[in-house]
Symmetry: C2
Subunit: 310 residues, 2 copies
């Protein structure tokens, strides 16, 4: 099969398409024919060597997949060959979705949402679970909560806005001016241009801040949270100083990592199928353009997601 | 830390206790201080080399754990240090619970059931999920169903009897005569001595047969299933001839493999806490007696489970 790999850490141009063997599913796993995978910022960190989660190269990146079950190992009853599925397999101990086939533990995939293309469904798992687990599992967002989403036009942010709205929250969003129409179209009630205004003056008394940006946004966000409010961040999850500042201020700090899990995927499927969630795909590129896809993701200017198709 | 390992495939005496480094949890994982682990037949197959799921030795066996969270990687919010948890981490790509510490993906563990000792909770995950996923996810057992459990006195079987009863089924069980009192104490409505009687003459018109024995039981079980009834088997899951025979007879074949999953663990916790499920621990041995524990499991004469404690 064709897969994207790299022989060394480095810039986007280390990514190359090679011919390699199909991966072999183990017990409790299935083999999925990849129709779409998505590029996430974490992929670029691993590619560059700044977050060497997969060890030394060579390896195949890619945790998002939408595709069709090609083969099930005897003993798997949740899926059968031909089923359309999506998910986020093998994180964090292996990856592999920048390829024609990927293996997936049965409990790390779910039925693909009806009404989404493979490109859309392949854009959803990692950002969708990151948003869902942050808003629901970590912060417990409820109807009527006031929720601020930083980076509302990006991969995680644009899904977080929709999920917060679906949960019944009043959603305040920060984004650059060029993304305001997009963010409003997602359902945000208020949109703040972070370059033109100080969000700490433009909003306040929030129940939850979901920070998909990092780099100083977290600490400033403590000021706009109500006492007992929750700061959710996947970006600054290891920031002990921020956690301490939150505790000192009487706010709750929830640093999160995405966790592969079928129950979250099933929740996302339900949201999509009830018309309340739709991932936005900015560009669909072939595997051969993986380097270009990484450049786009690293630019930070993309609305929504970059998808690769084998 | 101390851990049981092996330098070659072989009999129980290849198992030895060594000093080794604590495993390091990755993102989305926790480090668990092991208070109890259980020995499962699959461990013996891997130890002997007949099912080389973990590759070549050395490796540390053990998929069951009950213990206390020692450390969480920043980003994990489901658990905190000090939490009592149980689960079945890392199957099938790694293992490691025959040790003082094991790493566990957050979504492959759950809160330890209240009212169980660590020895009891450590005995439950693999057999409990094997029984739950077979009876509920694969066979869809409902109130009033007639369910036959083969090997009802063994590790999986003794849990399957209790779960089937909790689901409201009428439970018929096969076991050797010496285990009949035990199996009746689990709630079985009818118990058949498979040596004294042909179960195909002693029962029939069943909705589900759960075969935890294998070796010919599966094919004979097709005769006692009603049309459309389900044969569940983890032992003969790869038996294509049996699957074909079931299809030809108008019965459904469900070969299953256990899948690590917090939702099943949570269901087991609920059953335990409502008084409907309790794993039976036959022997508790120290890690140093891992060889003896394997001998006991391979003897097939144990009622319930063999547990190791570090």
């Amino acid at each position: 099969m064709r897969a994207v790999t790299q022989r060394s850490f480095g810039g986007p141009d280390v990514l190359e398409v090679v011919e390699t063997e199909r991966p072999v599913p183990l017990p409790a796993e299935v083999l999925v024919r990849v129709h779409a995978t998505a590029v996430n910022p974490v992929d670029a960190y691993i590619r560059a060597g700044s977050f060497p989660l997969l060890g030394e190269p060579p390896f195949v990146l890619g945790w998002d997949v939408s595709g069709v079950v090609e083969e099930v190992v005897p003993g798997v009853t949740r899926f059968a060959p031909g089923d359309e599925v999506f998910g986020m397999p093998l994180f964090p101990r292996a990856a592999g979705a920048y390829a024609e086939y990927v293996v997936a533990p049965s409990r790390q995939i779910a039925r693909k949402p009806a009404g989404l293309s493979h490109a859309e469904a392949g854009a959803l798992p990692l950002v969708g679970l990151t948003a869902w687990q942050g808003l629901v599992d970590a912060a417990g967002v409820r109807e009527g909560d006031r929720v601020l989403v930083h980076g509302a036009g990006g991969g995680v942010g644009h899904v977080a806005v929709q999920i917060a709205k679906a949960l019944g929250a009043h959603v305040v969003a920060t984004a650059s001016a060029s993304k305001h129409d997009f963010v409003r179209s997602l359902g945000a009630d208020e949109v703040i241009d972070y370059r033109a205004a100080d969000f700490t003056e433009a909003t306040g008394d929030l129940d939850v801040v979901y920070d998909a940006v990092g780099g100083g946004y977290g600490e400033r966000s403590l000021r706009v949270l109500r006492p007992g409010g929750v700061l959710v961040t996947a970006v600054d999850r290891e920031d002990a100083a921020l956690a301490a500042a939150a505790a000192a201020a009487g706010r709750r700090f929830a640093g999160i990592t995405v966790e592969p899990d079928h129950t979250g995927l099933e929740a996302l499927t339900a949201l999509v199928e009830s018309g309340r969630l739709r991932p936005h795909v900015a560009h669909v590129l072939p595997l051969e353009d993986a380097a270009k896809a990484h450049e786009l993701v690293e630019s930070g200017r993309t609305q929504g997601k970059i998808v690769l198709t084998p």
